[in-house]
């Protein structure tokens, strides 16, 4: 795949319809010989991994291994022990019976309301809390993968000072001495740096702290912050506010560089509401989504009209839209140039659908765009209808400015004691703050963190923090909904929470006991609620929501006297543009040591174990670059080396880099993966900068991308139409592929399924490609991580993959996502070729894979047209790390080397529900069984059930004319089927 591609030729091929309608990469669209060679091998490059031995040696080895394998099978079961409780706990822990507890995970300014599955006191899996308004039962990759974070063997486990392991008491002594000095000075030298504050208890503690030590300062800083939205809204409506959308009421949604379905605190709720409005035949008509963005995101992929524009050009477009809808004080801007038609269509739709549209800007956009968006929403009547302004917690504070002030104070020698909780500023602070250098001027530096990372290395004391699954705390979401975070397990290591650290600071006497975070949180809430605090507390823990907090923050009344102002535009200058984005897998770097996330194919690039400088095909052509070329990105005199990745649909003359890689410290998984984009991110241009220079280095970087793996040779895969076409004639979907043969047209004897017939329907219309299902499946089914080298050989183990297809031109393609689990074919090609009957069919239609019978011929995988079978080429499962064993689902076998595995439809959940139903002498109810992928899906795109029951949701979906089977013409009779994707384009733009 090396060597620059002839983009012009690809463009011609795609334009003339000579190539395919759907394509996955530019190489595929071009039909390059290298790719053809790659695909010839079923699994890319596995042949190259051969032993390179002669025939004789091969026979010797085979003979020896056969004999040894035979002998190895002669072992007897090792003697095991049964270790019951001495005194059984009262809450009825029974082996094999999971318990679920409500808790919550904070991230950014938001929260995931979660239900944690606990097996014998070990949390093994997280699900969304259906009662929680920010989750509604859905989760995303971060929440799903956080359970692995808990058991991460690289987490910091001990208190460390100057490289030495020390007891907590030694730290407390030092802290107490420092605090005693500060007390005499009213705390003037104390600075506490946290991440965005969302804990009400912590807020209360900080207020208490400040009321005693008035001059102490508290700073929030996260690299992915909401400064721009805050400043923009302050200008536009004159009050501190954040906003919150109700997409369920939106007929038209306009996203200005806002990945509202993919990231940010409202993503789960927005995804649910959005997908609810994309189904044909709903009570309300299908919504229409306009997106203007530089780098394709999952939101852009769902757009009916996606405009690939540079982030810095979005402001002009927003201004043109604002002028078009008559927003207050916005005068007609210059014509939006080539985007005039798009703007015109947006304006037309926004004015036609008053009160029922949503306009939103992303955190990377400057304050001016946020102000414009607020004014547009005002002008078309959305404010307080579909867009609610909400009171941000703790007033909402500018983070970059606050960090800048801290740096100034350090320079001025005003800071004696700096406590850094969780935040990792040495990595994430704007590079012009030279934080690492400044930090070392502070006389006493204390870091509380999950990992001994870049910041910890430069502090006097590193204190191990506890994971949210082992700590007491609370967290408040955007709309005010507050959840108590309750621990699922006692701290694995000797960690403390930030609550305990602050409480330790506040002790008057050194001999005072440091209260536990349970006491601190409990005490805070008993002060909040009069009356029966025990009943209240138990209820809050049980529900996962503190009663009466939902919606408490909604609707900020604005000052009617206030004249809206525009936030000032910041001129950007010319030249190549660079935008900085949180990574879809490692976020700002905090999840960099999570191997599930590192190995997750990123929704848009399908890269694993890497970040890249993403550029448009046309820009690559101009600069003579190919994917994998290592370049030096130079910005304002700083430089970083990064490999290029060409992304169809990227805005031209712009580069997008994702943050959070290139870690120097922070765990074995994180270190050395990707490049550190923070190295060129400054406080003046934290999101968008112009004047980037790209210099070729002549080096080449090998990416591990999954975009060519498991290719189905371009046979009809995704189907779709516009809503208008579909309503005119629903047959349009069926006609896009070959007809499946009739029921009798088979050589196999007919099989009747009289009882349950399990089936799955995946709605491509709802699916955003977020990949939460992939990680959920990994957590539920003990799926191993294989590492970058193995991924590049096509050996990733994910049972469900999300294929991403491009359609149309290389510059502005439509983007589709398609999750592909096992199809559970009724006439499964894999079953007939297995020589040892290790894969067979159940009488409920499940394609069964029996590990203990598999001898690893891989014939099944060769014969699978969907390429959903995965082989353990090596012992991928970690059988030795103790902490990782705790995470495993005890209901699923941990596979060994040499066996095939694949999606089981979560048969452990099927069996569990069936046994429960049998014991109650009834049949399994619809919805009682939810596979992990379906449960995690925030869009409810995956529906599972008994297709023999005509009243089941899955049977109803399969009866829709949108339903089609993948490669059904092969007569495999797949049980997993797809509902075609419908788009709702604007008639005006479609004509053009």
């Amino acid at each position: 795949m090396s060597g620059a591609l002839d983009i012009e030729a690809i463009r011609r091929r795609l334009a003339t319809g000579d190539g395919r309608r759907f394509w996955r990469s530019l190489e595929e669209a071009a039909g390059t010989p290298e790719l053809a060679a790659l695909l010839e091998q079923d699994f890319p490059r596995q042949v190259a991994a051969g032993l390179g031995v002669g025939r004789r040696q091969f026979l010797q080895l085979m003979g020896a291994s056969l004999a040894l394998a035979g002998l190895g099978a002669c072992t007897r079961q090792p003697q095991q022990e049964i270790v019951p409780y001495a005194k059984a706990p009262e809450d009825g822990i029974v082996p094999g019976e999971p318990l679920f507890f409500a808790t919550a995970m904070p991230l950014d300014t938001g929260v995931y309301g979660l239900l944690a599955e606990s097996h014998m006191g070990r949390p093994t899996k997280l699900e969304g809390n259906p009662e929680h308004p920010a989750s509604l039962g859905g989760t995303d990759v971060f929440a799903q993968a956080s359970v692995l974070g808990l058991y991460d063997p690289d987490r910091s486990q001990v208190v460390r000072s100057a490289g030495e392991i020390r007891p907590w008491s030694a730290f407390f002594q030092t802290l107490h001495a420092a605090m005693q000095t500060q007390r005499t000075k009213d705390g003037v030298g104390i600075r506490i740096l946290t991440e965005t504050l969302t804990s009400t208890t912590l807020h209360d503690q900080i207020i208490a702290f400040n009321s005693e030590l008035h001059s102490a300062r508290w700073i929030e800083y996260e690299p992915i912050n909401r400064d721009n939205a805050l400043l923009g809204l302050q200008a536009a409506i004159g009050t501190d506010a954040a906003f919150y959308n109700r997409l369920e009421g939106a007929d038209v949604i306009v996203a200005f560089d806002a990945d509202l379905l993919g990231s940010g605190p409202n993503a789960l709720r927005d995804t649910r509401a959005f997908s609810g409005r994309r189904r044909p035949g709903g009570r309300k008509p299908m919504s229409r989504l306009y997106v203007a963005e530089p780098m394709p995101t999952v939101t852009g992929a769902k757009a009916d009209h996606r405009l690939a524009v540079r982030a810095g050009d979005v402001e002009a477009i927003a201004r043109a839209v604002a002028a078009g809808v008559g927003a207050y004080g916005v005068t007609a801007a210059a014509a939006a140039g080539p985007h005039a038609q798009w703007v015109e269509a947006v304006v037309k739709d926004l004015t036609a659908k008053r009160n029922s549209t949503v306009v939103v800007a992303g955190p990377a956009q400057p304050p001016a765009v946020h102000a414009l968006v607020a004014l547009i929403n005002d002008a078309v009547g959305n404010t307080n209808a579909t867009v609610a302004n909400v009171r941000p917690f703790a007033g909402g504070r500018e983070q970059v400015a606050a960090l800048g002030k801290l740096v100034e104070d350090i320079d001025a020698g005003k800071v004696d004691l700096l406590i850094i909780a969780e935040s990792n500023p040495v990595l994430t602070a704007p590079v012009d703050f030279r934080f690492a250098e400044r930090l070392q001027k502070v006389p006493l530096r204390i870091r509380l963190g999950l990992y001994e990372d870049e910041t910890s290395r430069l502090c006097h004391w590193h204190l191990p923090a506890v994971h949210y699954l082992e700590s007491w705390s609370d967290v408040r979401g955007i709309d005010g909904t507050t959840s108590i975070i309750q621990p699922l397990i006692a701290p694995l290591y000797d960690g403390k929470t930030v609550h305990e650290l602050l409480a330790a600071c506040m002790r008057k006497d050194e001999s005072d006991r440091v209260p536990t975070s349970y006491e601190i949180v409990r005490d805070y809430w008993s002060r909040q609620r009069a009356g029966d605090s025990t009943a209240f507390w138990r209820r809050a823990l049980h529900d996962g929501i503190v009663e009466g907090t939902t919606g408490a923050a909604l609707r900020v009344d604005r000052d009617v006297e206030y004249l809206p102002k525009m936030a000032e535009s910041i001129p950007l200058g010319d030249g190549l543009e660079i935008t900085f984005r949180p990574d879809p897998a490692v976020y700002d770097g905090r999840f960099a040591n999570n191997a599930w996330l590192q190995e997750l194919p990123r929704p848009m690039t399908k890269l694993t174990w890497d970040n890249a400088a993403c550029i448009a095909p046309v820009t690559a052509e101009r600069l003579g670059l190919a994917s994998g070329d290592v370049v030096e990105l130079r910005l304002e005199g700083r430089a970083v080396r990064a490999p290029i990745w060409i992304v169809p649909g990227h805005a031209p003359e712009a580069v997008t880099v994702h943050l959070g890689y290139g870690r120097e410290h922070g765990g074995r998984v994180a270190e050395g993966v990707g490049f550190n984009a923070y190295a060129i991110r400054s406080s003046t241009a934290p999101w968008i900068a112009r004047g980037l220079q790209i210099h070729k280095t002549g080096e080449h970087h090998e990416f591990a991308t999954t975009q060519h793996h498991h290719d189905m040779e371009g046979r009809d895969v995704v189907r779709g139409a516009t809503i208008a076409e579909y309503q005119r004639d629903p047959k349009v979907i069926r006609e896009q592929g070959e007809e499946a043969p009739g029921a009798g047209e088979t050589l196999y004897p007919p099989v009747r399924y009289d009882g349950y017939a399990w089936g799955m329907a995946i709605d491509l219309n709802a699916c955003t490609g977020c990949s939460a299902c992939v990680i959920a499946c990994q957590a539920e089914n003990n799926i191993a991580v294989v590492g970058k080298d193995q991924v590049s050989r096509g050996r990733e183990m994910h049972w469900i993959r999300v294929d991403r297809y491009f359609e149309g031109s290389a510059d502005t393609p439509a983007i589709h996502h398609q999750p592909v689990p096992c199809m559970h074919c009724e006439d499964a090609p894999c079953e007939v070729v297995c020589p040892v009957n290790a894969t067979t069919h159940s009488n409920e239609g499940l394609n069964q894979m029996v590990y203990n019978r598999c001898v690893g011929t891989r014939y099944c995988s060769n014969n699978c047209p969907y390429k959903v079978r995965r082989f353990n080429f090596y012992l991928y499962s970690d059988w030795s790390t103790e902490s990782l064993k705790l995470q495993r689902n005890p209901d699923v076998t941990v596979r060994s080397r040499g066996v095939m595995e694949k999606c089981t439809y979560c048969v452990q959940r099927i069996q569990y529900a069936k046994i429960k139903a049998e014991e109650d002498d009834r049949t399994v109810r619809d919805g009682e069984i939810t596979p992990a992928c379906a449960q995690a899906c925030p869009a409810e795109a995956i529906v599972f059930g008994n297709q023999n029951d005509p009243e089941s949701r899955v049977a109803k979906l399969k009866a829709e004319p949108r339903n089609y089977g993948l490669l059904a013409e092969l007569n495999t009779r797949p049980r997993t089927t797809y509902l075609a994707e419908l788009r709702n384009p604007s008639p005006d733009l479609e004509k053009a």
Binding site: I82, P84, A86, S842, L846, N852, I915, E919
Partner: protein, 216 residues
Amino acid sequence: MPQVFHRSTNTFSRVSIFGFLFFVAAATYGLALLNRSSYVTEAGVAREQPVPFSHKHHAGELGIDCRYCHTSVERTASAGIPSTQTCMNCHAQIWTDSAVLEPVRASYRTDSSIRWTRVHDLPDYVYFNHSIHVQKGVGCATCHGRVDQMNLTWQESSLQMEWCLDCHRNPERYVRPREEVFNMAWEPPSNQLEIGRELVRAYKIQSLTDCYTCHR
């Protein structure tokens, strides 16, 4: 040219050809026997335990119900092993200074588990569920044998897959009325097949032989 081989070689070769076939057959049969023997299955081998707990005394002579200790057998996959607390319900009152029971008292005192030797151990890729078997009329003694007559407990059955399938294929041979499930002394009546078929119908017992029934 003289003969290379003596005439007796003919006999020798015949014997060795047939002998080889016989040897292969005998070895196969021998291996099959060995595989089913208690050396491999460990059936019938009484286990040493930290406390010589006698089911014969407790369940047989004293008549304590199985479910007094194995509390979750009717509700969940696991039958449940009693906590030390359960032992101490009685042994706080009786045999309070028996030396044999010292490990039990020590466990209770120090809140540390008694480490019992496991008697029934299925391979890790097998997922067995007690509650559904109890619900469908499979008696404790059907699989576990007359535990009420065992001093030290042993595994009665081979626990091999063919043994499981024997019942899964022909449940009518083994099922009993639900009310007799915990009756250790219940013997199948002479018309077991007849009654069995009726129970299979009444309890909606399915003959589940799909791999995923037990393997995941």
